[in-house]
Symmetry: C2
Subunit: 467 residues, 2 copies
Amino acid sequence: MPIEWTGSGPDLLLQVDRNRPEPLRDQLERALRESIRTGRLATGERLPSSRALARDLGISRGLVTECYAQLQAEGYLVTRGGSATRVAAAAHPPAAASPTPAADQPLRVDFRPGIPDLSRFPREQWSRALRRACRDAPNELLACRDAYGDPTLRDVLAAYLRRVRGAATDPGHTVICAGYAQGLQLVLRALIDEGVRVVAFEDPGDPDQRAVATMLGLDVVAVPVDERGVDVAALAATDARAVVLTPTHQSPTGVLLAPDRRQALIAWATARSATVIEDDYDAEFRYDRAPVGALQGLAPNQVALIGSVSKSLAPALRLGWILSPPHLAPAVAHYKQLADRGSPAIDQLALADLIESGHYDRHLRHVRQRYAARRTALVEAIERHAPAVDLGGLAAGFHTVAHLPVDADEQDIIAAGRRRSVGLYGMSAYRFDHNRRPAQLVLGFGNLTPAAIGDGIESIADLLQPS
Amino acid sequence: MPIEWTGSGPDLLLQVDRNRPEPLRDQLERALRESIRTGRLATGERLPSSRALARDLGISRGLVTECYAQLQAEGYLVTRGGSATRVAAAAHPPAAASPTPAADQPLRVDFRPGIPDLSRFPREQWSRALRRACRDAPNELLACRDAYGDPTLRDVLAAYLRRVRGAATDPGHTVICAGYAQGLQLVLRALIDEGVRVVAFEDPGDPDQRAVATMLGLDVVAVPVDERGVDVAALAATDARAVVLTPTHQSPTGVLLAPDRRQALIAWATARSATVIEDDYDAEFRYDRAPVGALQGLAPNQVALIGSVSKSLAPALRLGWILSPPHLAPAVAHYKQLADRGSPAIDQLALADLIESGHYDRHLRHVRQRYAARRTALVEAIERHAPAVDLGGLAAGFHTVAHLPVDADEQDIIAAGRRRSVGLYGMSAYRFDHNRRPAQLVLGFGNLTPAAIGDGIESIADLLQPS
């Protein structure tokens, strides 16, 4: 049953305006598409003849004809034989527009771990490095053809990580990636190809990393962490052939992997033909002594090191690197190619420039002092306002662990903190079994001023101590 | 059996130099690490006492002690009880440095498809947009927290794609990604969660895209493409519940999906609860008329549109977008979060700026003229030098298909072209079964000047015609 053209006049439904810069034909096309999409013109509905519509709108008939032809080519309209033009059945209305999500209430003080001092991102230096990269990048580089990443950046990183992290570097086994999360996926995929089915993670550890392994179909096993780092004997008792570790500053407990455990770990990896994935996430920041060199330097055939600028510059740059064991490097680069065809070339060149120019080192020295001061502010605030609370972990990074009273409930304290507009984060989120004992908070202080730290701790101190 | 300290004197093995800016301790540490790694100091070898080494090198004993302690913490050295310091067993030498790959011989004229005119990348405008983004990005944005991507860019893209591609856009269902390859993975992962196991691809089509689906564990089926686009009846005969299409300009044949097939496709998707993935890869470039609007605008609940700036600006930017069906959007954003925690924030802001400022439109108008001229140059060169060859596909994009004589052999022609330093690419690489019939070449002309096109065609014309 044919439906006729609706509306008191097409000019009400389809508004075209000669005074707008947009060509009349584009206006008419868009208006017709929108009317069909929103259901104002229904499926099967018959459109006026091109002659009639042209007359009603005061435009040329040829313009209407072109417009009908265009929308017919796109599938919005159908014309069968010599009969009238109608709205096609395929033109479905979209679902309702997405609701605007309620904005999170901003917290007065947010101890969220893992966020560096965003106010110190070296905007001016990064901008200049980008400008030079835009100016100097060879045309071929804009085609993004090297799956390993930009050769200049790989050379610069090899020298830098050798010097600063004691890593055993080779630009030919280095793959540039979009930060740690992607790096982990690429290495795990390469290991899956080698027959790895089970991967061990530190417990407690970052739950998002375990989610990545699970997504890839791997079995995930927990290995406990004590005050000397991951328990290698417990690791050896699993059937894992890969383990993801934070040996320099365990995330989140903050402990350092002990020397004999390093030995045992490499012995295990060698005997089992296993791979250690070293998450070198905040090694730049140690305040009491030189940072411990990367485990990768000790056994580059057994260890894949993954680092990034997320903590040293800003998470939003999404740039990282993988120092791959030589035998895995081609597979890691292959999966980088499949994942996204390589990281953005201009950003890669800019990072190479920032490191080469010495601005990266200077930036790190500068923020290291700031983080040390913030850590001191946190330690002092706890001593002053909540002296019963022990803080754990090395003088390193920009988070620490607060040990709560034995009868404390993490979730209660977190909820109470939020009511006072203070963001708190519990250790249970990092545990495999989410049990809440012993009750601990993981306190990030990287993106908080000393004053905010003092204010935040003071306003929740009563929650942290035995009542 | 203890091995003693080797070498005629430690100062030969371990060189420290007071005149270098690097602190002596760092020099010594690095020298020891390198000696252990390269095997000059062997496993189990006993090091001189700190007193002896300090005397030999003319440095303080405390410095040597600190250095030994550092390397012991890192696992390079072991000290058991009061006995001497030895090289640890875990310290393995790395594999030999990777060989430098032989550089590809550069081709005089390379008809590789898919590369835009890299010489016209708007370096100055992109650099300025980056500078403004570096200056104006709010601190919070540097933390990279929105899995959907930067809200400003999503708003700008929604308006742009509605205007230019006739798409049905909603910033709340838009996810920013690192180009098409990643976008495809994110959508396929979301579909796997919905139970999709089989995905159809156009035959011929891009083999890299099929590789992505295979990597994710999906079964891949071929659907033939004829001169009216993909064969929807053949698609309906498969058990695919998703299909990846290039409806506006089929890749690589260059045909347009016919209106009745669009209808049939949407009817199929609706009846089968299937999803169409629209690869909107070069829709900006049509030279004879306005480009056909996106299929997505017709059925936004059934179609996921994936676009990028790889063809419009440069592949190396690695920025793209997914207009997701509303019900899939949360899963797509979730997998983006898992994949790499989001695309680089400053790049996203710069793209929003480039589009908003009108520079993006102006750039497209400029290069569209250039591509049209290059296409004309190719058509004319074929007419002049190889008149027996038919060129297929729309007056669009920056590749075309050359139909070769029936008895021609693609691989022979490609090899002969390479010997003349002309890069040619065969249709068989795009086919599911790699059969070489009918023999065709896919000729990319986006990154070649008209002179290079004429030169290239002239120098291989004899290969393309019946002998």
